[in-house]
Amino acid sequence: MMHRRQFLKVAVAGSLLPSARVWAASSAGRPKFVLVFLRGAYDAANLLIPYRNDFYYESRPHIAVPRPESGRDGAIALDADWALHPALRASLLPLWQRRQLAFVPFTGTHDMTRSHFETQDHIELGQGPQPTDFNDGFLNRLIQQLNGRTPAMAFTSQVPLSLRGPARVPNLALARSSRTLITAQQRRRLEQMWGDTPEAHAVAEGFTVRSEVNHDMATARWAAEMRAASRGAVDPGGFVGVAARVGALMRDSFEIGFIDVGGWDTHVYEATTNGAQGQLATKLGALGEGLAALARAAGPAWKDMTVVVISEFGRTFRENGNRGTDHGHGSVYWMLGGSVRGGRIAGEQVPLSPSTLNQNRDYPVLSDYRAVLGGLFARLWNLNAGRIRAVFPDTQARDLGLV
């Protein structure tokens, strides 16, 4: 008769008691880190454009972003080799000019399946080519190396793989949260009913997070801030609105945060008249506005913040038959924040030609993402090589001096 209950009990052993507050209060001056995962493999070659390279223009007759001298649609030259997509002119170019934005091209994993799903999993687990534990993400291991009490939050409707593991991390999808009132009495009864189950902590944390976020949001007057941060009316469920609230919550309560943004799998009509127009341009524009809103909402905390934007892989260097691109390999990672030493393109690079492309098809991976992030974490939290290897096993951190 009690089979179900016994089954539910199995996983409880060893976990911690739920604390009254899910996270310790975030103290000023400590590093803050936000990971933004672009799911679907965004077309990195049209974000950071190799504008001096004729092979780029030959490979993308319909979807290349025009050269910098081409007026409004022209790419924005950042240095002698690379230019920025013009959709980011208003939102992120100012950060580049303040040296708070850097890019790391030719980054990614050595996974060659070109499967979105497998590669995203590999990246989030961060255990190397053969993951062995599927409940053990790299951000969770990072929290454990930071004494396990670093306040972290997934701003997503599920806890992503990268944050799963022994350190308990709550989640809340800001765009979808409701305000249905559950009374204190009903809450107590629910916690009692779930008390013996493996989900007991999740139940308690869910209530605590919901009420504390509501409280933080009320005191932060996020609606007013968001309007200011996004310079006008925004859809609170859209990315710009969510990103502004993430900025405010990171400022007040959290040190590690996670957001994801979907819809980057541009096999068809990535661009219309040229790479400066169309689907990808619109998405990059909204992403840029969201990141700028996050930066503004973070206010004084921005100086301690590092936001890293990643994706599972890049796309084919040549356009396909439908003004789109297919699955590729190496990507371009973004680093922005008040503590970033930006205004530069970091990491190993190679001139692009048919012979330097991976399989004559897509960007090679010259910087393993685990080495890059390991180097960043080492600097942010002053972690030694042993601790970095606990986050990314068998990885030699590469210090690119990004912060």
Binding site: M2, H3, R4, R5, F7, L8, R39, G40, T113, H116, F117, E118, D121, E124, P131, F134, T156, S157, Q158, P160, L161, P170, N171, L172, A173, L174, R176, S177, T180, I182, Q186, R189, L190, Q192, M193, W194, G195, D196, E199, A202, V203, G206, F207, V209, R210, G238, V242, D260, V261, G262, G263, D265, H267, V268, G290, N320, G321, G324, D326, H327
Partner: protein, 593 residues
Amino acid sequence: MFAETTPRGRHLRKLRERPTMAAKNTQHCGWPRTPQGRAGVWITRSRRHTVFGSHALALLALLGTCFATANGQNVAERHVAQTPRAFAATLNEAVRAHPVAFLDRIGWGANSAQLAELHRLGAIRFLDAQLDPRARAALPSPLGRSLSRLPVNAPLENWVPELIADERSILRARGRISAESHAAQAANNRLKILRQHANLLVRQAMQEQLLRAIYAQNQLHQRLIWFWMNHFNVFRGGNIGPMMGDYVRHVIAPHVLGHFRTLLQATMFSPQMLLYLNNAQNHRGHINENYAREVMELHSVGLGAHYTQTDVTDLAHVLTGLGVDLLGRPVHVRPALRAWVWQHGLVVFNPARHDPQPERVLGHTFAGQGIGEIEQVITVLANDPATARHISYELAQYFVADQPSAALVSAMVRTWEHTHGNIAAVMRTLFMSPQFAASLSQPQFKDPMRYLLSAVRASYSGRIVTNPQPLIGMLYRLGEPLYGRQTPDGYPLAADAWSSPGQLTTRFAVAQQLAAGAPALFLRSEWMHRVSYPLASRAWMIRPAQPPDLEHSAVFEAAEATLSQATLSTLAQTTDRRRWNALWLSSPEFMTE
């Protein structure tokens, strides 16, 4: 669309699957035949396909490696005679102890009528009825009549070309005039009306699917519709949205208990899939390999099977020319190619867009056959042993356990092989397995769709939901909206994707709404007054919110014996019907099946 959270559990399980798959099955063999011999259909089929002529040898082949060690034909036959009764007894016993878990597993959740039917028929005959591909939905008659009249159920070619032509002509006209002009305003208004109509069609499809899931009697059929739609996921974006009703009713539903090859073919020849994964744009000289990759990785052989980037690219070449014409126009090609044109509804095979060069996919060569190549490649994909294993694993995961045993999967694979992918036969093997019987006391955490529908079925089966729209909103808040998964992998199937803190808090809020009577569910539906809808008659009109009496419901009484002390003592703390209902629908036992 932004900030789409993507729980990744499903693919992890695929990674996990590899080592266990290699494990040799030595425990038992799933034998899907019932004591009543209802499995006759597929036995006949296997016999027809088997290379052995005689009855006994056919059976032996059918049993596969399971009896490889058995001492000849007599032993095998004796085993056949004994096994079904033994399995039936095991299943009957498990179902007697866990009737609610059983009904939650084979359909969208127990209700009182089904509990009575299960009691009357017994588990085996109940299963036989559910596994019958011809089992009827048998909806309450006013509901069934209304649904069949919904505009969304008309054949696509009758209304899609008009809708698309209207939209394009408005857009063209608007492009020629100044944006500020009066005419531009009028064009925008017409466009708005058109898009509202398209959105109404999407909602009709969702509402119909939910109403069928709640009230149809062929519950396994309804569950499998969701499973296969998720397996062959398409997203509602763009022009696909209004065609979702067709995808459910005409592409997926007719084949959910049929042969896998037929189902794979139906999806490959559907405008929804061809648009969603861009094969509509894949043609000679303009290769788009999106669909070619996903059909192997997700729909058939599965990731980790023996294919390479070259197979993907070559398959994309084979699939060139298979596309969609939303305007349904006749295809014009030069006379030499006319015989190769194929057109059905909005789906077109245009030989002028097809690459006739020979291609090699998974070791098979395809050349010069036009659409015949595509049919051959479907057979190759459907018959690949990796496909049998991949799909059996997913079914076992959805219906039995997050990590199904290798023995169960192997038994299903054997049935798959002997029946050439007959889904009903594979499902029978699953349900008659000792692993399934044992799993009834080892609950699975429900995903949002299972959770929500089981709560509605337990609470409102005796009363017709006239406005399912709030349920659509609840599924969105719970992170599993219908037709809302953007990526082709479908929603994750395992529990760990759905038990996070944010998820549980939202479930408690949903439970509270349903527990209080959810008056919005009984309002007039938005389309009831647009179409002739008998339910809009006074008998079904708005009633005050009346919380259902779940404490004295047949479902609670049948589940009570399996509740924990913590749940029982918490429930005993309140006599207020709304609070009691909310607690039961929020209990750990209700969130698992």
